[in-house]
Amino acid sequence: MPHKKPIILSLLILMIIWNGASSEAVPLESLIPLKDVPKGWALIEGPRTYTKKTLFEHIDGQAELFLKYGFQRSVFAIYQNRENAQNQIELDIYDMGNVLQAFGIFSRFRSEDRPMGIGLDSFLDDGSALFYKGRYFVMLYGTEPNPSLLKEWATKVSSRISDHSPPPKEIGYFPKKGLKPGSIQYFPEELLGHQFLKRGFQGVYIDKVGDKVEIQAKGENKDKVKAESKEFHLFVAIFKDSKEAVNALKIYKDHLFKKGKIDSRSPHPFGPNAFQGEDPYQGEVIVLQKGFHLLGIAGFEKERGAENRLIEFIKSIE
């Protein structure tokens, strides 16, 4: 196809522009400590970089989750203790594109609130450490339990990251009272397991039901008291505009009408764009639209307390 030669010229120019733009990013490999490692340790494998196309080779099907969260590139390395070859530390640094996505993937991996004070938020247990800072999500895994060493390593990696973006502002929407520490999660789609809710945040709260039972059950089995404590969720789904949010509210209401229950109070105390009902799996829910947000509370038992928490939540959302 000789007539296509002018195309090639255009192509060359575009490639130069494109490559130029991409070279502005910090080389991910530079975040891997090469010589500046804890005493007695040495890099034995890597740094190996992975792209969107090759991430599957590194973490199999799990790559799909990272791609959903905007994965850009990652770098991986293994360090070994000089005295014990079996004692190794694996380091993964993922560039997730922005701080929101980095928080999102971090929130999906953290299993409970065990912060170590590194990055914007972190998690540390005997054999693993996680943190996110700016657009980066970092995972450290040790073959031998050694949290202090993992923390030392995480500190070294964190000091190399110069992205000082603040955490996603939506984390601040969630009222602190009753919030289960480390429970806020970000989902890039399918919030609460529903296609129509799209992207958003959710946080877990501990209901006060347990306290009430404790008073009634003084002197009785404490375990029973503990088991009575109830969790519920606050959630906020984020849409492109208010029209989309109103539409999602309608779909949610229709969904509960078919599969759960809808409170017949009209208008609802929270206004015309709100409803209360019973979700077959989430329990009692109150859902309302505010601007391009759909927010709500799910799984609560005490209506008054839930409403108060929701009012606080509504106020905090711009």
């Binding site: 195309i7 199999d60 399918e190």
Partner: protein, 399 residues
């Protein structure tokens, strides 16, 4: 009436000649689809090879699911087999499965995975899985992501699984694979050490894989199909077409498949998939798959590797095919941009100056048309136009 013999023969003939050379499904009865997904599915069970486990033909791939609601819904729908892995979300996926099925353990089958390593690490991995799953046994433990025949017949791995079985931690063992699957299944059929194989299987796959699946199933291996939907296309991208049920039914027409584990993440998806049980592959499904297939044909290279090395000029044509897939299929122009970075000017020059294209796709992908689309994407990069107005716009249904 479509149920009349002549019509049925015609239908069989049509489907045989239409779907990628894959043999016609052997269950071709016409029965109305359940349609509305909120209806309770008619549960359908098959035996998972030599394990003897009676599993629902539509089960659940839990991998990317993170809301327990979806699992609760799946359970209520009657689905009894759940596939997870030790590494999914660093164990959180297993934790969720364990929490949801606590108290219901004997009513479900759980499959999880382990990576080959030294015994100490593999043992630790199994122990962690058991803790997270809140159980003292794993129904099926599979090696994660085999790709070499040597792995399938590795005696060391087999011995580890035997130990796990003797210790009561694992009931049955197998392997999963995303690549080189036909060879692996043939090897597994010979080696006779695996109870289960979890393989990627859908209507775009080759006759060779189908035959290997048959061979493995006959040897007693329970075949679990994943990636059954052949991609993650959204309804709105294919003219409102919803090929997912048809794609799932197609997989299940192969009686050598014990069950499918579509990866679902929402209540709506699991309901849609579960509704497939007890239904048959219909004329409408055929039409749906034909449209989906023609959509895929023009856009999707499934990276089967069948055309590797076919370009006489050594152009990395698969990289160019990816450009079209990323733009039109995934709607991920960021991926497209990244792919462009690895395509060199001489590669594109060689391709654009070639008077004809000798690459032949075994699945009917029009390689030359794809190459032209790729070149257009390179010359007019996506930033210059919105989705739906690019070079491939409006061409999806011109079968």
């Amino acid at each position: 009436m479509f149920s009349e013999k002549i019509e049925r023969r015609k239908f069989i003939k049509t489907i045989s000649s239409t779907l990628l050379g894959i043999a016609a499904p052997n269950i071709l009865k016409v029965r109305p689809s359940l349609g509305k997904s909120e209806k309770t599915p008619n549960l359908e069970y098959r035996t998972l090879g030599r394990t003897g486990m009676k599993v629902t033909t539509v089960s659940m791939g839990v991998m990317n699911c993170s809301d327990p609601t979806v699992l609760h819904r799946a359970y209520d729908l009657g689905i009894n087999f759940y596939d997870t892995a030790d590494c999914y979300m660093w164990g959180r996926n297993e934790e969720m499965v364990g929490k949801v099925f606590q108290g219901k353990r004997e009513k479900v089958f759980i499959q999880t995975k382990v990576h080959p390593n030294i015994e100490k690490k593999m043992r630790a991995s199994v122990e962690r899985s058991l803790r997270r799953l809140r159980t003292d046994y794993i129904d099926v433990l599979v090696w994660h992501g085999h790709s070499l025949t040597e792995e399938v017949s590795d005696r060391g791995l087999f011995e580890f699984m035997e130990k796990m079985k003797k210790e009561g931690k694992v009931r049955f063992a197998g392997f999963s694979s995303h690549s080189n699957m036909a060879s692996l299944l043939r090897e597994a059929a010979k080696s006779n050490v695996h109870d289960v194989a979890l393989v990627s299987y859908n209507f775009t796959h080759s006759k060779g894989l189908r035959e290997a699946v048959g061979l493995a199933a006959k040897s007693g291996i329970g075949i679990v199909a994943m990636k059954t939907q052949a991609g993650g296309y959204k309804k709105e991208k294919i003219g409102g077409l919803s090929p997912h049920q048809a794609a799932l039914k197609y997989v299940l027409t192969d009686q050598n498949i014990s069950m499918a584990v579509p990866g679902v993440t929402t209540v709506e998806q699991i309901e849609e998939c579960a509704a497939v049980m007890g239904t048959f592959f219909t004329k409408g499904d055929l039409q749906s798959l034909k449209q989906y297939h023609s959509f895929l044909q023009r856009r999707i290279c499934t990276m089967c590797g069948g055309c590797t090395g076919e370009c006489p000029y050594g152009v990395p044509h698969r990289d160019l095919l990816r450009l079209v897939m990323y733009h039109d299929g995934y709607e991920k122009d960021s991926l497209l941009k990244e792919s462009l970075q690895i395509i060199t000017t001489p590669d594109v020059q060689r391709c654009s100056e070639c008077p004809s294209c000798s690459i032949i796709c075994r699945r009917g992908l029009d390689i030359r048309a794809q190459m032209q689309l790729a070149q257009e994407l390179i010359v007019r990069p996506p930033a210059l136009y919105k989705h739906g107005s690019g070079p491939a716009a409006g061409r999806q249904f011109d079968v």
